[in-house]
Amino acid sequence: MSEPIVHQTGESNSLLYRLLHAVCISSAAIGGLVIFGAAFVVTYSVLSSTLGFGAVRGEFELVELACAASASLFLPLCQLTKGHVMVDVFTSKLPGAINTTVDAVWTLFFALGWAYLAWRLSVGLEEIHGYGDKTMLLRAPVWWVYVPAVFGTGLSAIVAALMGLSVFMPRLIPMEAK
């Protein structure tokens, strides 16, 4: 990240990678805008309250909903740019090919994990929608934050699966051309 992520997609990458990259970047940007929006609402609320016009009712809940939505929308990009950190202290001396294979296996585990979570969250969405749960003050339906959650974990699962598999079948699933 010493280089901004935006510039990491080069011409040398495959069409599939560039397509996924565009989707993940858009998702991340929308998540960022959501957080930005929350910051503006809180600032507006503080200003309005200071000037004696009263605070925005339920701004805290708005921030919570924004946090949950953006957490999910941020995920796929992190998966695509290999942003999940690991400790390479013990394995740094091994040949690169071994480490690449090991990493690909764990990436596939990641895919399974995200897929399982996406499935569970879709069940959660259905339940919460069925109960009609609302936040305490805004009375905002809670089920809608499950939509980005299912989308973010689901897309992360697809990204991780493709990235993991591309190591074992680079011709069938070309992710990075270099």
Binding site: M1, S2, P4, I5, V6, I25, A28, A29, G32, I35, F36, A38, A39, F40, V42, T43, S45, V46, V63, E64, A66, C67, A68, S70, A71, S72, F74, L75, L77, C78, T81, G83, H84, V85, M86, V87, D88, V89, F90, T91, S92, N99, D103, W106, F109, F110, G113, Y116, L117, R120, L121, V123, G124, E127, I128, V142, V145, Y146, A149, T153
Partner: protein
């Protein structure tokens, strides 16, 4: 298998997975899921996971993480963070290892408006890391000083961990913030001394850079007026009664956007880049937070942390030995767990234990003293291998520095922290005299 043994197995299992290059978030989640199924049931896990992700992140406390990180990226892309570092460099950069000291000073300044260690570490890494590398600083010293400096985000108030401690122990939050001030300054001093000793032992790792003349120094100082405005508005707002620390994070974001645009560094394109960079760092941290949540729930189910704490509570050992035992326990667990979960799991049992011991202080003094000691030891967990969040933040941003180097770089700072802990334990008055002076 009895739950205690299983818990030990989980801890060992986590170490092994990390050793095998498993990403930290995944490793914690896998071990946590295994433990959860063993100690509860698959049906329970399935039910838990259908809402856990949303529950975890629909959180006002956690929202400060993306907010502080966004503020950091905006500050960096607008050149505001660079001016913080440049000002520190103009004044102390010519000393041996001066750039690393400037990085620590920059972290302290940023930490006084930010309540998050990770945001502090990532912001100052973006600015100071390239400069230190350009001037021939070793990867170890650069990453070590930034990782340690990053902890100042929490050690210097405002501080998320202290808020949680105050809630758990029914202490006054504002008094705790005051109490943390002197120990926080001690941390800055300790880190700078650690750097100066380190560069005397290994001069090639931290060279000197050019000395600035007085005109350059004053210009550099004048260039941080943006920071001063943010500092005054955010801190003045908090202590002056206009908003709360959590709201301060949001106000800080908007203020940085406005001032960054005035300063000229922010354009629609760099703002968009800031949003996307925020996504990368936040997702990495949140994925670990979620994995850690599963791991912690599994540990809680085993009751192992409670039983260890209970052992200290019921043993008939001298007060100071009990305290040192608790500190040692925190240090060991800090290698593996994140600070917030550790506080949540153990303070409930350790706090009454410690408060029942006689150290010759008033109840409130002793509560603040133990709070500060817990904060310091738990925050050390951010820079102790193998699971140290600040190290991961830096590793993700400086991909050219091997993790071995990063681990090595933290050693002098961990030593400095050990000395600080010893001082804070030996002289409890450091943790409460400011409170006695101002508040009482």
């Amino acid at each position: 298998m009895d739950p205690f043994t299983l818990a030990l197995l989980l801890v060992v299992g986590l170490f092994i997975l990390i050793f095998l290059r498993v990403p930290i978030a995944l490793a914690m989640a896998l071990v946590g899921v295994f433990g959860y199924i063993q100690l509860s049931s698959l049906a329970g896990l399935k039910a838990y996971l259908s809402t856990a992700w949303v529950d975890k992140f629909m959180s006002y406390d956690l929202s400060v993480v993306p907010l502080f990180i966004l503020m950091g990226h905006l500050a960096t892309n607008s050149g505001i963070s660079a001016s913080i570092f440049n000002a520190a460099r103009a004044w102390i950069g010519h000393l041996r290892g001066g750039l690393a000291m400037a990085a620590v000073a920059g972290c302290a300044l940023f930490g006084s408006i930010s309540g998050s260690s990770l945001a502090t570490a990532s912001t100052m890494t973006r600015v100071a890391m390239p400069e230190m590398r350009k001037h021939g600083f070793s990867g170890a010293l650069s990453s070590g000083s930034l990782a340690a400096g990053g902890t100042l985000g929490i050690l210097i108030p405002p501080s998320v961990v202290l808020i949680i401690y105050a809630l758990l122990t029914e202490q006054n939050i504002v008094k705790l913030f005051l109490a943390a001030t002197v120990p926080g300054i001690l941390a800055v001093v300790g880190f700078i001394i650690a750097i100066s000793i380190y560069v005397r032992l290994f001069p090639e790792e931290g060279p000197t850079s050019e000395r600035s003349n007085m005109k350059e120094r004053l210009l550099a100082l004048a260039d941080i007026w943006h920071v001063m405005v943010i500092f005054v508005v955010v801190l003045g707002g908090i202590y002056g009664g206009f908003f709360t620390p959590a709201q301060g994070a949001a106000v800080g974001v908007v203020l940085t956007l406005v001032l960054g645009t005035i300063k000229g560094g922010l354009t629609p394109k760099t703002i968009l880049n800031s949003l996307i960079d925020t996504a990368g760092s936040t997702a990495m941290i949140f994925a670990i937070v979620f994995g850690a949540d599963l791991f912690n729930v599994a540990l809680a189910l085993s009751r192992m942390p409670m039983e260890v704490a209970q052992y200290f509570a019921t043993s008939d050992i001298a007060p100071m030995v009990v305290l040192l035992g608790i500190v040692a326990f925190y240090l060991v667990m800090g290698c593996l767990m994140d600070s917030l979960s550790m506080i949540l799991l153990t303070v409930p049992v350790f706090f009454p234990t410690v408060m029942a011991l006689d150290f010759g202080m008033t109840f409130e003094q002793q509560a603040m003293w133990f709070g500060i000691i817990s904060l310091v030891v738990v925050e050390m967990g951010l820079i102790t291998p193998p699971v140290g969040m600040n190290l991961f933040v830096i590793s993700a941003m400086a991909k050219d520095i091997p993790m071995t180097q990063i681990f090595r770089g933290t050693i002098p700072f961990i030593m400095a922290e050990f000395i600080r802990i010893a001082i804070l334990i030996a002289f409890p008055v450091l943790s409460y005299w400011l409170v006695d002076l101002v508040a009482n």
